[in-house]
Symmetry: D2
Subunit: 428 residues, 4 copies
């Protein structure tokens, strides 16, 4: 099973041009139904409602992560770096490929709504007797456990763990490039060849040759711009809010014993909180979208309205505010309630924050979220010590408060709203 | 309603960089639920199973067709060509935008399976009291009829019809560029700016300034390569075959009164052959995929097997043959039948053909499928008279015969198959 | 003369795809020998010795600046902004096109060596009866004066001056894009369409619609990266140093009455400091390179050695130092002198600095080097007040000290150099 | 000397992203003055007068050819093809790198004017005791002879010769990509990764895996389009004609004993027909351009006029004709002579032809200019037997006749020209 393919196979990929598959195990993993399922999960969730090109799947991203990892390892091996273990190649490639296997439909929203975690699901799918488990076991009896331990960051060789997840891992590099390509923005155009050239395995970490500092600055800036221009785009956030409200409302109705005109099995178990692996694998975005389409004609008005909004892209509007205190929030909710609006479903508050980069603090040691530069004298320095730009984007970055609301409902409730609220939401 | 927007709106698009919307009508049409539905219909059907990047929707293509048309018209108006009617601008833009509105899920396969035609559906959605109809009627009472007549090629001004459909229309230009972008192949990289520069309205046709001949050669070559490299890719054909078999089997079972474990309303009416516009608008690829996923556990083995193949991408294999006669086909089917294979479902024959370009035949007049060059003396010549390359790709182009079959089933039936058949399918 | 061309003319351009020429005056200006001379002046001087692709000329850059300006104006006119004067269109385009007309061969080095200024030369070429003057006079008797006054920032309408030179002018946008394209680095890939969309004429300035802030951040970051990765590349600096040394040595020899084996007229007058416009127009990089090639066999050893180094790319090496004081410099020079090295020609010290962006200081008014954001309430704010990133790259940015020296000569002088110097230059 | 570099070195390249240098010999060859001279020879001669971006040098093209060859060999070695000889790697790389070393300034024109051949010069520079010879001799005493024999197609191993020159060699692939990049046209965008993947060494030839046929079609089409859109562009031809006329006139004057106001040594020996290698190496485009600039003020009117035309881009105009017989030509020349025009310098006739691809003729064996496909049964077929498109562009392709002439002179001579000639040249 560890033997190479007799002939290399390729996938045509717009981002990396070709994905090269050289191992039988990798080829067989890609062809399992568990991995093929990722074709039915979008990489960027509801972002396609903001950037219409962003329909790409986690399947293509996973191939991309695998490919970048393959190139990094191949560079490590060509250069003969002593801190790399060539015998860990296949393990690292499998972990890179399978890393996102457990993502559910509209992953972030569903995880929040049902208190789940995609990493746990990834490990369960690897370990609980699926097609994936079977193929991995043919390599070595405990190979599934090894792959899972890399993904949970518990594997004994740090360098393998760090290749799969660290601030300069293949995952981040692929998603910046891929999300930029499919949305069409050009913030993510990092020089990946150059970045790959300056990476070094060093005492269990992936560090950066000092002369590559500017390439890393550029990468961190790209990441920063992608967060604030794409990932936190208020229209995307609005659609995620509606999505979560649908899940929340449906679960609530389910628990109250509401009789759904349309319901399918994996969803009932999801509401009950006891999905097993086989059911989880049936959850995909086709199911969610088809269900929401059916629910547009549910009896429960709130549910059907929310589903219509999502399916027909009648999203909530928003106002931006520099600051917002609990008192104001309470006041708005009270006014909403007395005007017949729903104090929870008709108002959502969002406050996007991100930690683009975590600086080194003197007196503490380096930790895994930092990027280290290696100079010619083999000294390590954390990049923000050297780079003004990195320092400037370090630390928690906070956006503004966004208040999301259904404009049509607000307009109907207008006569019942106090002027202060009308001013706030800019309705008259 | 005919007034421009107070501020131009844009969509970020990877292919055209920005889609510019300048008219209130266009903006409102895009925001209807009928047009938003196109987000849930892929531009290239099952091609994503071959080229994983090709997940783009008809929504983005429709915006692209609109944008190219807008640019052509804008060039016509800047140049002040007398054969263009500036008062037809909005009509042309609406027809360009709505042109593909009637496409169903996995359009080509569903049309074949249920004898439907997306152009008819486009016109019905425009005319039968939908959100689209309402907006168009605000322009002019009979504006919906006008838009539909452009799409059916019956409008009085030929130049409008030809802008929306002709061998050099915005539809073809956008799909070449877009499909190349999303699949990642580079055959479709036509120089659209140059093509737009050499187009002229001339006596109702869109003709090409003579000096632009090479740009058109390049465009026709791109089209040719895209057909044979992407659109007719045997893996895509294999998935389309399975898709059609699912539809065929399900319809058959439905007609036999089979009781489906999972069924939803728009599908039953589809099987009955009497879908109305409101039901048609509920048909999307999410529904089809979700249904197929449910059907993977149907009682009917054939149906559940076909659905599994489609969902988990266990497609039919194929052999290529230079020639194939009816006798051989009959022989194969007979051998299949006596080996316990299904003579219809387990063997599909595909023979892709295309008419890349239709030459001028002396003695006949020019017809609408030809591309005409206009020289400085205002003489028209059909391009294949001048270009060797265009001549070489003209006429019907035929591929090879492809025989598609389920390899696993064939292998099981091996002992019962005659040697001639084993040789043909390269199984032993 | 002010009439448009009967048919728009285009230049194929790799950066902007096409350069569109719509006015007779512009077309005729491009065809003058004064403007054609820019084909023989490289945009990036000696940078091609570092990035081999960077052979592009000031001719192509000037067309690019013209094209971007044309697009900005066209956007201003389409939007009907009241702070723009449509009657200034042709003047602005001429000034944009001719802006760099006075650049000499290897511009920065020659200006430094001979105390000249390309802007003065630009104005002289526009005003002193050249082919350019003649064409401009046909527009209006004092049109040459107007164009020159825009370039010298003295024209009465600030908006025209600011379009041609300001921190967001077409000049900077074109060179970032073009230099990135020809060097092959990808730092300069700014989203020019988006930037153009967010520019507004406002009280004589070009300001930025607030929602465009991130696009401007990206532009300033690109500029920053291009400076430190490309424009200040130490190999380029090394070649500029040698170039200046050649000029310095030749001028010195000329003043001492040295008899050159090879000398041509415009150079003698350059050394005498009294070049007239006609002679200046004969100065191009072909002349400089051909002369240096001839001088590789001059009797004067220093001159011939420097010319060989430049022509055959045997550049000076360098060491980097965090800090450097006058005392150390003096010590090095003394050691060099006593080891038989030339204390001036064999050691050059470079300390690159840049002012990427000049912040607003409370209490002062806005000045022309700042970028202003315009919000919906028509309030202006300087961008670094709002953007962390811009603030982080503001103010003077200093690189490290670089000491350039001829390694071969140092190695020969090795026995005579003290150890401290050997350590410093890392020779043994 | 055959050892690898301790650390791989790279050149940033816009076409291949990075050029990777792994061998000391290659690195040292690039740094010779003979190779650096290629920076002063443009890849496309006078094409920059048509496409202003095309200023790229033979230096960058030579690096590109080296890089593609390196990738092909690396693929051959990864795949372990038995028809490749790994011990020939360095030889092949040196020959690929040095292949164009002997090109003179404006190569095609100067070769035609002085009956020289750049391949001869390449071999002389490799063999006649230059810096190149010295480095190659350190590999092996007769290594220079080996490299030269590969370039002259006489080396014993055909596969080495065919890698360096054949219809699918690295030279052609690089120039298509590079010339497309720098001119900005998009005809040359071949999928080089795919082409490299389908190449195989087979019995001394580089053949193509059958499944790669469409990639080769696309490559041949690109080549075809580049010839007729770029390489044969009439404006480029016009500038080449003037260039040849300058050389012809200067040589004629030199032979008549004319005393040039400006003359430098390598040119006199060029006119005498006895340039040696050291002088040849001083010939570059800077010298030619600087000389022409000086000659714009020569006494001989014809010479100074021609030089002005070239330097200031006042090129000859042209008329196109479908056919042209000797009689007509004679008549034009006679009319020109009697109108005081120069019958040779004032009229040049150009008839571009190209052999895009040479088909297989039954009964003959395969020859080196054909591209062979290798199918799964290891049968070879010449590509035009299989591909309609290749067949259509095969054989000699002829353009139209172009008559080039100085329009200003013709206009002055107008009263003396017969009407038939006026009609022909469209002057009145």
């Amino acid at each position: 099973m560890q033997q190479p393919l007799t002939e290399e196979k390729v996938f045509k990929d717009p981002v990396h041009n070709y994905i090269h598959v050289q191992d039988t195990v990798i080829w067989r993993l890609i062809n399992t139904k568990e991995f093929q399922r990722l074709r039915r999960i979008r990489q960027l969730g509801t972002t396609y409602l903001t950037f219409h090109g962003a329909e790409h799947s986690r399947f293509s991203h996973s191939l991309g992560v695998y490919e970048i990892t393959r190139r990094i390892i191949s560079q490590f091996e060509r250069s003969g770096y002593k801190d790399w273990f060539p015998e860990e190649r296949l393990l690292t490639l499998c972990a890179a490929l399978l890393h996102d296997l457990g993502h559910g439909p509209f992953s972030h929203s569903i995880e929040e709504a049902f208190q789940m975690n995609h990493e746990d699901w990834t490990c369960r799918i690897i370990l609980e007797n699926t097609g994936i488990t079977e193929i991995l076991q043919e390599v070595e009896e405990d190979f599934p456990q090894k792959v899972a331990s890399v993904i949970c960051k518990k594997y004994e060789h740090d360098i393998v763990v760090n290749l799969v997840s660290s601030p300069l891992d293949a995952d981040r590099m692929d998603y910046l490039l891929r999300d930029a390509y499919y949305t069409g923005v050009n913030y993510g155009t990092i020089d990946i060849d150059r970045i790959l050239r300056v990476l070094r395995p060093y005492h269990g970490r992936v560090v950066v040759k000092e002369s590559g500092m500017h390439a890393i600055e550029d990468y961190l800036m790209s990441r920063y711009q992608m967060y604030w221009q794409v990932y936190f785009h208020p229209v995307t956030r609005s659609s995620e809010i509606i999505l979560r409200q649908v899940f929340r409302r449906a679960k609530q109705l389910f628990q109250e014993g509401y009789s759904f005109r349309f319901m399918v099995e994996p969803l009932t178990d999801l509401f009950r909180g006891k999905v097993n692996v086989q059911q989880y694998l049936q959850l995909d975005e086709a199911l969610v979208q088809a269900t929401f389409m059916q629910w547009t004609s549910e009896q429960d008005e709130l549910l059907s309205d929310l589903c219509s909004r999502f399916i027909h892209r009648k999203l909530y509007k928003y106002v931006e505010m520099e600051s917002l205190d609990m008192e104001t929030i309470d006041e708005i909710r009270r006014s909403f309630a007395s005007a017949g609006l729903h104090p929870e479903y008709d108002l959502e508050i969002d406050f996007p924050t991100d930690l683009p980069y975590d600086v080194f603090r003197p007196g503490e040691g380096f930790h895994g979220k930092q990027i280290l530069l290696l100079d010619r004298q083999e000294r390590l320095r954390e990049i923000s010590e050297v780079s003004d730009i990195v320092r400037s984007i370090s630390g928690i970055h906070r956006g503004r408060y966004h208040l999301y609301y259904p404009q049509d409902k607000l307009e109907k409730a207008l006569p019942m709203l106090p002027n202060s609220i009308k001013d706030l939401f800019d309705v008259r």
